[in-house]
């Protein structure tokens, strides 16, 4: 493999992670925020795989499986919460759900 892919992957991961952060800050819709979080998780995965390949450590490649499992569990529970939220106030805007703000 060409060594140029390692720094290129890290920079790509950085770019996607930053886009995810911007998406979280930009959106008010809970579903869009959630998708931006998925973007960030993916960027983390890319960095993880790249480092695993760089240092020849198979643990990193296995860790990706755990990240994806947690992402799947998070998506399942989070989307269920959004459905519940939508049923109660027929919107999934995050600004409208501010009871805990105090």
């Amino acid at each position: 493999m060409d060594p140029v892919f390692f720094p290129a992957n890290l920079l790509l991961s950085l770019a996607i992670f930053s886009l995810g952060v911007m998406g979280v800050l930009w959106h008010r819709n809970a579903l869009s925020v959630f998708m931006s979080i998925e973007l960030m998780l993916n960027a983390g995965n890319l960095a993880l795989i790249s480092f695993a390949q760089r240092f020849g450590d198979s643990a990193g490649a296995g860790l990706v499986l755990f990240v994806m499992t947690v992402a799947a569990a998070e998506a399942g529970v989070g989307l269920a919460i959004f459905i519940r939220l939508y049923r109660q106030r027929s919107t999934v805007e995050l600004d409208k759900a501010d009871e805990l703000q105090g």
Partner: protein
């Protein structure tokens, strides 16, 4: 030499697609299109995983992310049909499409050049990949990381039960 330049071209294409679709996810106000763009991001990343020779990651990327999580997203979005809401900052640009393409290509080539520059500065040895086999990953998962590996199944079970309990009507 020819194979390497083909790899470069393929990588540049995948990276551009990934960045463009990620930008669409981050800034689009149309949720359904954003999910489809997210599928493109995931598939591009899977292609990149294949390119750096980690087929296992590419496979679970396609199965779990593009296959399962995003279908769930799509279902929920179509179920809820959230109203398009105004974002706080409006874009000043009228023609965002072509500008996004140019920005994506520029970004991809920029970090490709940065990577090249890093290699000339630090030498290729610093970034050389060390290869390992898929068998190694599997045996590592089922020996050193057996407990967390089994715990993920409990986590998934709890997530299923929790999701059903939260989403069902009283």
């Amino acid at each position: 030499m020819k194979l390497i330049s083909l790899q470069y071209a393929f990588y540049a294409f995948l990276a551009t697609m990934a960045i463009l679709s990620a930008a669409y996810v981050a800034f689009s106000r149309k949720t359904v299109y954003a999910v489809l763009a997210l599928v493109v991001t995931m598939l591009s990343l899977a292609g990149i995983f294949l390119l750096i020779q980690s087929p296992f990651a590419a496979l679970i990327q396609v199965f779990v992310y593009a296959g399962a999580i995003l279908v769930l997203f799509l279902y929920v979005i179509m179920l809820l049909n959230p109203r398009q809401t105004d974002v706080t900052i409006r874009s000043m640009v009228e023609h965002r499409g072509p500008m996004l393409v140019v920005a994506g290509v520029l970004t991809a080539s920029f970090f490709f050049l940065t990577a090249k520059w890093l290699i000339t500065v630090y030498g290729a040895d610093e970034f050389q990949f060390k290869e390992f086999s898929l068998i190694e990953v599997a045996s590592r998962l089922l020996s050193d990381y057996l407990l967390p590996f089994e715990l993920t199944s409990i986590l998934l079970l709890m997530a299923i039960i929790g999701a059903v309990l939260i989403a069902k009507r009283n």
